[in-house]
């Protein structure tokens, strides 16, 4: 393993009679341990790629809401109602007349038994292009709708990744609600 060497470096620290040993450490077991650790860490790292989606629920406020005086742009709040037939969009605004908003939104029927997420994103994109300050969307899903489908609706409402290669933000502020916001005729309840 090692052998005395009286060649170069023999006089280190000023001692002419010093002896230098060539030591070969056996690193193979250490390599084994590290390779195993690396493997397990890599495996678990890939399994926990978890992200979050921020959402809120409607809450009752004690004070009256006052419009922000700094706001110069008009904004609309979009309500999405997802039921067995499709997704219904309704827009409302504190500053805009209801007549201006009645043509926005509408119903997006299901396609082959699935919600048409691309059409939803395209419709929301057209609303966003018209009223750029808009940020909020209220999602009202049916009670029987699986959570997975709701996540897909939220994905379609949040950004344009589903239809555009260039991603841009649509409605990042999501409120999940189960409280009826429309009457039987589909009119938004005040």
């Amino acid at each position: 393993m090692s052998a005395p060497n009286k060649g170069i470096g023999a006089g280190l620290f000023g001692k002419e009679s010093g002896t230098v040993y060539d030591v070969y450490l056996n690193l193979t077991p250490l390599m084994d341990v590290m390779s195993n650790l690396l493997f397990f860490l890599l495996a678990s790292f890939g399994a926990t790629m978890v992200a979050i989606m921020p959402t809120t629920v409607p809450t009752v406020s004690s004070g009256e809401s006052t419009p922000d005086p700094d706001k110069t742009e008009d904004a609309v709040n979009v309500t999405l109602r997802a039921d067995g037939t499709g997704i219904t969009l309704k827009c409302e605004s504190d500053t805009l007349a209801p007549d201006l908003l009645k043509d926005l939104g509408g119903k997006i029927p299901k396609k082959d038994g699935q919600y048409d997420y691309k059409q939803l994103t395209a419709t929301l994109k057209s609303i966003k292009e018209k009223y750029r300050a808009s940020k909020s969307v209220v999602v009202v899903p049916d009670d029987g709708l699986p959570y997975e489908v709701i996540v897909k609706i939220l994905d379609a409402a949040r950004d344009t990744r589903l239809v555009d290669t260039k991603n841009s933000i649509l409605f990042p502020d999501v409120v999940l609600s189960g409280i009826a916001t429309h009457d039987a005729d589909g009119n938004l309840l005040k």
């Binding site: 390599m31 978890v50 992200a51 029987g144 897909k152 999940l176």
Partner: protein
Amino acid sequence: MAGGGGGDGEMDVNINLTALLDILTNLLFFLMVGFMSSKASMELDGGMQLPTSTAQLEPKKAVQVTVARKELRVEKEVIAQLRDGKVVAAKTQEGKIDPLLQRLQVIRKEKNATGPEADILFVLCDKDTPYGLLRRVMMTAAEAGYPKFRMAVLMQ
């Protein structure tokens, strides 16, 4: 490098593994740092599956509520049993889940936290959970003082 070598033609070859070990150590170090910086700890047991999403936001630590297939948990404590998307044998009133409300109120009082992060819940929910159950969980949490949620999803 090579040492020895007898008359039988055998050679002891000592491969220098130091450079490779350096690389492995660096990799290990970065992986471990990355692993520790995933701030929220998650346990996806009981056959629970999260939905996939295009969301990119990183998880942050908050009080964790898990809506699994068969049970409802706060942190690691089982609060109620679930069957077919409904709470079993737990008192409920006005759409709220009483044991969840009580547990969250206790946690909120114990933590006595203030600031923007104090009223946020980290929710792990199985992808097949009906919205009716999730809505009741969220409404109960809002009643207990947690109206904001970080819904956990798997990155696409």
